[in-house]
């Protein structure tokens, strides 16, 4: 939005973009899940090796 005045404020209207929000949060969630699952498997392997 542009407001005509002595000061050009360059005001703006922003709206939440749910698709973009979903894309990045799902990516983080997946990355974290993969990491945690791998860490759990490694821990189990280490446990098995120790036994």
């Amino acid at each position: 939005m542009h407001v005509k005045s002595a000061i050009n404020t360059g005001s703006m209207t922003a709206s939440r973009n749910a698709d973009r929000e979903k894309a990045r949060l799902v990516a983080y969630n997946e990355g974290f899940k993969k990491f945690m699952e791998k860490a759990m498997k490694d821990a189990e392997k280490a446990k098995g090796g120790a036994q």
Binding site: T9, A18, Y28, F32
Partner: protein, 383 residues
């Protein structure tokens, strides 16, 4: 095929032919608009009876043109967007220009410094490691979104306030203007995805919940901080109360992942992920999933509870060494009280209140002092 400059010129020259007669005397302009991490070309068509007009960004229209859309169709689409966003009544500009009216609506924004040098040269800001805090005047929300005006050096100077004053006002307005939120990733994912999943499962909620649960990590170790609108929610990092409550909930040590300017993620340091893993994750998601205008930073951060500051995690050792060196330099003499940061902050707030009261008096009496000469980070102004 027209190049981009020819395309912009054609749009500016021809657009009135696609608009109703009442736009005949309107003023057509194309301005460069600095957005987060990018520069866009905004078209404005301002009719003589209104002082407000939407800005229509031409960059994506040129991409459509390159993909084969005809210039006539593009002009028609732009005209439709312009008419759909027509504001009949004139906007009351004093909501922005009158500091007394604007001050209760000043809110902070957090953006990355790296790709925003030009934008930051035009706006008062404070630095938080490689993040910058900028300020805006919130003008309200409607079905199109939340309307705000970024505070430029010029606007700040016209108010006669300093960047430090703006900062304190913005922080004190944070709770009332955009209350912060702290939720587990599971909760956020459920809010975002469960309704659609229930629909896809033919209304079977249990099945949808089972599907969602399969998507989640085995342990709940990731949290999301933002605000209720989920817009520019990275500013929640400035909410000391929120940050302290996170420490109470998950412990002193946690990493902050700058997922976007709209929200950040919190991972406890004992979640088992190394800093390097987290940094790689942030870089990868930024590259593949985050739109440039939403991007905040490629680094991972931590929170210093004593100074209420967010800092880059890869600089933690450097920062600690600096702090220790500073401590040695400033060791209080026997009997001298050590400086309490909180008390110092309270003092600043109190003096700000006094200065604001003074300013109110000044305005009421019709006298206006010259703005302070040293306005912090002012570099240039754009009218």
């Amino acid at each position: 095929m027209m190049n981009y400059d020819e395309f912009k010129e054609t749009i500016a020259d021809e657009i009135k032919d696609f608009l109703p007669e009442k736009f005949e005397d309107s003023n057509v302009q194309i301005n460069t608009v600095q957005k987060n991490n990018e520069q866009l070309d905004g078209l404005t068509i301002t009719s003589p009876d209104s002082n407000v007009s939407p800005t229509i960004y031409l960059n994506s229209y040129y991409e459509s043109y390159q993909d084969g859309e005809s210039i006539e169709d593009i002009l028609q689409n732009i005209a439709t967007v312009r008419m759909d966003h027509e504001v009949d009544k004139s906007f009351d500009i004093t909501k922005i220009t009158d500091f007394e009216q604007a001050k209760d609506h000043i809110a902070p924004r957090v953006i990355g410094m790296e790709d925003n040098a030009e934008l930051l040269a035009q706006r008062p800001h404070s630095e938080m490691d490689d993040l910058a805090v900028t300020y805006c005047v919130m003008l309200g929300s409607d079905e199109n979104g939340s309307m705000s005006v970024p505070i430029t050096n010029q606007l700040m100077e016209s108010w006669g306030v300093t960047q430090e004053e703006l900062h304190d006002i913005a922080i004190s307005n944070l709770e009332s203007l955009s209350p912060s939120t702290f939720k587990s990733m599971n909760e956020v994912m459920a809010e975002m995805m469960l309704p659609q999943m229930i629909e896809e499962c033919g209304g079977d909620r249990d099945m949808a919940e089972a599907m969602l649960s399969a998507m989640m990590p085995p342990e709940e170790k990731m949290y999301v901080i933002s605000n209720e609108e989920k817009l520019n929610g990275a500013a929640a990092l400035l909410d000391d109360k929120l940050m302290d409550s996170i420490r109470e909930k998950i412990g002193d040590d946690f990493f902050i992942l700058p997922s976007s300017i709209h929200e950040c993620l919190v991972v406890p340091a004992d979640a088992g992920m190394e800093l390097r893993d987290l940094e790689n994750m942030v870089k990868e998601v930024n590259e593949t999933q985050v739109a440039p205008q939403d991007r905040l930073s490629d680094h991972v951060y931590q929170y210093d509870a004593d100074s209420h500051e967010v800092f880059r995690a890869d600089r933690a050792d450097e920062r600690q060494a600096e702090k220790e060196a500073a401590k040695e330099d400033k060791t209080p003499a026997k009997g001298e009280k050590a400086v309490d940061k909180k008390a110092e902050k309270e003092e600043t707030r109190a003096s700000l209140k006094e200065r604001l009261a003074e300013k109110k008096k000044e305005i009421a009496s019709g006298e206006k002092k010259e703005p302070a000469k040293d306005l912090g980070k002012k570099k240039e102004t754009v009218i």
